[in-house]
């Protein structure tokens, strides 16, 4: 009998089968990957393990005993801790208070508790070699990546025997990702279990010992990692053979400059950035997280005040705000970092979201034409193969990949020809990722100019024509041709740090 063994675990929500009876077995001492597309049942399964969802049928055994947690507290008490994509931290509490949230020793003297908490936090951080984060800092002042790190600390605080990491690396920079992978390895080597969920096959291959693949709420395969190819894993996930994740890359760039940026600066975030983006080109932007990529995209979209010169299709422009950026005169559109907070009106329909930026295209004298709006919406849903029951479905109820497609559709409807894509594949399933990459290359071939940032370094390497590597708010290097490799990017991103 395996250390953690689930048999025929099933869960339905009304008429929707989330889990049709999955089997899962993992041993102590291993890192076990759980793979599958969005909607395959991974999330439901780990919520069952973490005690926040109760299965309708099936049994789970942990260490030989029946495991049936009533709630997340019970799961933690049994030694199962999960780190979810959605953060559960309290913004106004400190790092230490969050790490020991609901575990704090109940002392009446807040001051005594505070110093004890900080000591314990420092001990925990030292034990797992955490990145440098001050335990007395308030969480709301931390970056998204640091919050994710605190979330991991919170899971480790109870000294669990099973650690579940759900896309825990998606918000992390390469350096922190490396750290987390090391942590997962040493955690497993100490005789405990890591269940690891990631859409990044490279990471999975480098880290895990065994994989289990879910599709449509069923277990479709379980392999030792050494005995399975990427193609098999992808085919298992998709149920069909995906020829390849990355499309062919033909050089489609012309000599015409779509975007010429000189001396773009914004406080400490952006220093004298020069950039040339050509018609038909996909220009990757890379670097360690927090080195100005975000500021660059926001400044070009008018969401961040910046100084410097910007030329769009040869004309000097000033991008005062997003409204100006999206105007036909400029034609700059953005896929923002925060899909749910900046990109979509979650409670509004797919239709309203798709046409949000192009209301004038189907109105006359301020009056909307439902017929013309429907034509635009139907066309875009068909073009991008957005999987929604009806265009009236609230966007927030779509899967992550389909939400991202809605944002792409909204951007394409504006007829902007310069696209700023900030991490467009984050939290998106493999199948949709492939579609997004193909779409990017197709658009480039049609003369669009695309600026593309990804938190996954392998993506610009395979999709972009050239890659601008940022360091400390400036462009440290622009790599082209054979020089575009993950090693090359990392070297350019870190060389100054190594010297310092």
């Amino acid at each position: 009998m395996a250390f953690l063994e689930a048999t025929s675990v099933a869960k339905r929500y009304g008429g929707i089968v989330a889990l049709g009876g999955v089997d899962f077995a993992a041993e102590r001492g291993e890192v076990h990957a759980l793979l599958g597309e969005n909607g395959a049942g991974k999330s439901t399964f780990i919520q069952v393990l973490a005690g926040s969802v109760r299965p309708d049928a099936g049994s789970i055994r942990l260490g030989g005993a029946e495991y049936r947690p009533a709630d997340p507290r019970a799961a933690r008490a049994a030694g199962v801790a999960a780190v979810f994509q959605e953060l559960s931290l309290v913004p106004d509490l400190t790092v230490a208070q969050n790490v020991w949230f609901r575990r704090e020793p109940l002392s009446r003297l807040a001051t005594a508790r505070r110093s004890a908490l900080i000591e314990r936090t420092e001990a925990l951080f030292a034990r797992y070699r955490f990145p440098d984060i001050a335990p007395d800092r308030e969480v709301r002042r931390l970056s998204l990546a640091d919050r994710q790190v605190v979330e991991i600390a919170k899971a480790l605080a109870g000294d669990p025997s099973v650690l579940i990491l759900d896309e825990a690396t998606s918000a992390l920079a390469p350096r922190e990702t490396e750290w987390l992978l090391d942590l997962a390895r040493s955690f497993a080597r100490s005789g405990r279990l890591v269940v690891f969920i990631s859409h990044r096959l490279g990471e999975v291959r480098a880290l895990v010992d065994r994989v289990t693949v879910f599709r449509n709420g069923e277990t479709v395969g379980a392999y030792p990692i050494g005995a399975v190819s990427d193609e098999t894993m992808i085919a298992d996930m998709l149920g069909r053979r995906l020829d390849r994740l990355y499309p062919e890359r033909h050089a489609t760039a012309t000599a015409r400059l779509a975007l010429k940026v000189r001396g773009l600066s914004a406080g400490a975030a952006l220093k004298n950035v020069d950039l040339d983006l050509r018609e038909g080109e996909v220009l990757g932007v890379a670097g360690l997280q927090g080195h100005g990529q975000q500021a660059l995209f926001q400044a070009l979209f008018g969401a961040l005040r910046a100084t410097g010169e910007v030329e769009v299709w040869g004309k000097p422009v000033s991008i005062r705000n997003p409204r100006r950026a999206l105007s036909p005169a400029l034609g700059l559109a953005l896929v923002p970092e925060d899909r749910r907070g900046q990109g979509l009106l979650l409670s509004k329909s797919v239709r309203e979201n798709l046409t949000l930026s192009v209301i004038p295209r189907f109105s006359r004298f301020g009056l909307l034409s439902a017929r013309r709006e429907k034509a635009l919406v139907d066309e875009m849903i068909a073009f991008l193969q957005i999987k929604a029951k009806t265009p009236e479905q609230p966007a927030g109820t779509l899967s992550g990949g389909n939400q991202q497609k809605v944002i792409f559709g909204k951007m394409l409807l504006t007829e902007a020809k310069i696209l700023l894509l900030f991490d467009p594949t984050r939290g998106v399933d493999v199948g949709t990722k492939g579609e997004i990459f193909r779409l990017m290359r197709d658009l480039a071939a049609k003369g669009y100019a695309i600026l593309f940032y990804s938190s996954d370094l392998s993506e610009p390497v395979h999709v972009a024509d050239r890659v601008a590597v940022m360091r400390n708010g400036a462009v440290a290097a622009v790599l082209a041709g054979e020089a575009v490799t993950e090693e090359g990017i990392l070297r350019a991103a870190m060389v100054e740090r190594a010297a310092a």
Partner: protein
């Protein structure tokens, strides 16, 4: 909220309206007589007109607490300037409507451009107007409403009250604007998420300011019409409309957090509130008890019909899951 559940909230408000009407007619025979129904329409119309602007403001994610004294100011100034004559209304009415809109625009600019929280901004403007009118009138304004205004407020065309017709026209216009115009679409978007609206290239500031401007306009309009109902203007005549204008919107199914709701629902809300004020005296309660019941009933109705409760439940569930 999905369109379906939004419609459900509006249907619920109309259901409540009809149920209340039937209950009241049991306690108070004669309640359903034509004369009585007519007076319900008239009273609901005043709430409905004030709540029109409030509906737009709340859908846009704000709240307008300056309604009482915009209403008072317009009422007091109109009666003072007109001195009981119809002729000067030709310039007084447009002037005061524009002034109401201007006050609304100031609210909107303070909130959208300078980032003052809506509650603070509109409350401050309310107090400033109150002070201004007290200084200007010396605290005792007394002038009769001109005949034309009285006709608009209490006159009838056949069996139909004139103000009912005025309200119907305004209601049709408001519904058209919310459902069928670019401005309406933008207002819902801004109220749902100002950040997403900005990132989508919408004129966020202009949209928010327009909502408050409309609210100032309708409050001033209601104030002038209301003098026709009571025969004169008096300080404090707008006070009840702060609570009722917001409650009508919420009973009508709008989320108090913005981004959802419709004027069609607000209309039902205005009727519910009016019928309720008629029902409670019929139960022979003392004045104090009346106010307590009135407040409690509104609180419960608003809680049940608005999204706020659903939002709260969803929040609690999420916190538990994250626990």
């Amino acid at each position: 909220m999905a369109p379906l559940s939004r419609h459900r909230a509006i249907l619920l408000a109309y259901g409540a309206m009809i149920a209340l009407l039937l209950v009241t007619s049991i306690f108070s025979p004669g309640f359903l007589s034509p004369g009585h129904l007519r007076s319900i329409v008239v009273l609901a119309a005043f709430i409905g007109i004030v709540a029109l602007g409030q509906t737009f403001v709340i859908i846009g994610g704000g709240i307008d607490l300056s309604v009482p004294w915009v209403l008072n100011s317009a009422a007091v100034l109109m009666t003072l300037f007109a001195a009981g004559q119809d002729a000067p209304l030709l310039w007084i009415v447009p002037l005061l409507l524009a002034a109401g809109a201007l006050v609304g625009a100031v609210n909107g600019i303070g909130i959208a451009v300078f980032g003052v929280p809506p509650i603070i901004m509109t409350l401050a403007v309310n107090v400033i107007l109150q002070g201004g009118i007290l200084v200007y009138t010396g605290g005792s304004p007394a002038a009769a409403a001109p005949p034309l205004i009285q006709y608009l407020a209490v006159g009838r065309i056949g069996v139909v009250p004139v103000i009912g017709v005025v309200w119907l026209v305004l209601a049709l216009l408001a519904s058209l604007v919310l459902s069928r115009t670019a401005f309406g679409r933008q207002l819902y978007a801004v109220g749902t998420s100002a950040t997403v609206a900005t990132f989508s290239g919408l004129p966020t500031l202009r949209t928010a300011i327009a909502g408050y401007t409309l609210s100032g306009f309708t409050a001033a309009l209601a104030g002038m019409l209301l003098t026709g109902y009571s025969g004169q203007a008096y300080l404090g005549m707008g006070d009840p409309y702060l609570f009722t204008s917001i409650a009508a919107v919420a009973i009508g199914g709008a989320s108090i957090l913005g981004g959802s709701g419709h004027y069609i629902g607000t209309i039902a809300g205005a009727f519910v509130l009016t019928i309720l004020t008629g029902l409670l005296p019929a139960l022979n309660l003392s004045n104090g008890a009346l106010l307590i019941v009135y407040g409690a009933v509104i609180l419960v109705t608003v809680s049940v019909s608005s999204d706020a409760f659903a939002d709260l439940f969803a929040f609690v569930r999420r916190r538990r899951a994250a626990g």
